[in-house]
Amino acid sequence: MAGKKNMTANTAVLGAEAHSQLIKRERKANNVWNKLRRNKTAMIGLVIVVFMIIIAIFAPLIATHDPNAIKPSETYLGLGENGHIFGTDEFGRDLFSRVVYGARISLIAAIGGTIVGAIIGIILGLIAGYLGGAADAVIMRLMDGMLAFPFVLLAIILMTILGSGLQNVILAIGIGNVPSFARVVRGQVHIVKNEEYCNAGRVIGVSNVRMLLRHILPNTISPIIVYATLNVAGAIISEATLSFLGLGISQPTASWGNILRAGKDCLNTAPHIATISGIFILVTVLGFNLLGDGVRDVLDPKMKK
């Protein structure tokens, strides 16, 4: 009974094996990915998003037609007509194939644009909120100034500076999103930075960067996630706006936003064009939001089932 004191009551009885298994289980349970896997919402969202990404990646295999092949004799076919699953558009192009190919541009624009905007915005927001004072004032006034530029104007200016192209679409959408992310983050930082656990970190001598990334950011992440996932819809539409203004992808390359926009001009003749692209956007947005909700929950230690 000599070693008894070093064990807990139950290890003494159940054996250390059971206990260490339990701890392993606990560690596993705390693993973000495992938590995510157990989160139904997140999984539904993930399935949707992955599904869309697969569509985008394997577009050439999935598409039934050449998405850009024009057939003037077969414009505005309805769903399923003449072998066109989703019908055809104003040029007789196969809508299904266009939607499938469109996933590429739209997803890249949505994800890329949001990420770029979020990263820059978060960095600026963190800095402004954390440093406060003059830095805060300067950064935020700058953001206010940027917000004051209507997106169209910003896009045109960026277009002249950057030229068109997919990277620049991402960049433009991203830059357009920066101010709002910065604002959301900064507001939260102002609140979190005075929490006692941040003080505790300061006493330890946590560097500013670490403080921001390890303590403040995780505790402000919730609204960021919500804002980012909501932003996906906006980014998809923004891509269309950009290409409409000539920045970004040009005809005939399909994107959901473009299809939607084209569908606007034939809402009565061929409502399915706007509807189908709209549904794809909606489902994607739904997917991202479900995933976001799940991630939010997973990152919140209190939301554990």
Partner: protein, 292 residues
Amino acid sequence: MIPGNPALTMLGPQAPKESVEQLEEELGLNKSKGEQYVIYLKQILKGDFGRSYSYNKTVVELIKERIPNTLVITLTSLLIALVLGMIVGIVSAVKQYSILDYIFMVLALIGVSMPIFWLGLMLVLVFSVNLGWLPAMGMGSMANGVWDVISHMILPCFCLSTIPMATFARITRSSMLEVVNNDAVKALRARGLREGVVIWKHALKNALPPIVTVLGLQLASAFTGAILTESIFSWPGMGTLIVSAIDNRDYALIQGVVLFTAVVFVVINLIVDIVYTIINPKVSYESGKGGN
């Protein structure tokens, strides 16, 4: 700054060369960009925002004319969006992962991903063309009674409020989730306060900061974000103005509007900051990394 020659843009396709040159001179475009800018700055400092050559009015006059129109719909729709969005968000948070939560979520997401033009046209088709209940466009006038004004506002406000409403709902939900189960709220419950008071007063106030941020953002973007709605409903607001200014490369107007909105944002955001300190007294804007 922006590509496109204003003189050319303004005069249209049929413009002869001489006219373009003549107008360029009139607009001072033949001077170098730097020179133009200096001139503009000098004017601004004098309080002169210049004259919009496309609208043939002073910029100040134009903005003054449009602001009330924009305010009336943006504020109304934001108010509706805020109230409904918060209610939805709170209910979803309290009943997290219930059927109601999912329904609200899908509705909210339809709200954000629904193209405004589509929504606007559908609303008009249903309520104006088919049912004939509401006017399809334009702004009512007080001369025709209050109802005229209100009825003209219903559809544009509806359109304008979908995206903010969804945003408010989602942000409120997430923010509420952070607080509904924290210790302070638990303590409130322990004091036997009604759940309604706990949620709608205490938890909500704790959850308010991100909502206020978003409100500020939406308020700001409403100024220029109403572009689509305004054009659909022929609403003569700032949105129409800025679009037209950009289309016409009306530099004075663009600069004026941007400057003006920037000032408005700064003011809005300063107010947001003040509101922050009111709802969360711990917030400080002092420089220095937190602490007291």
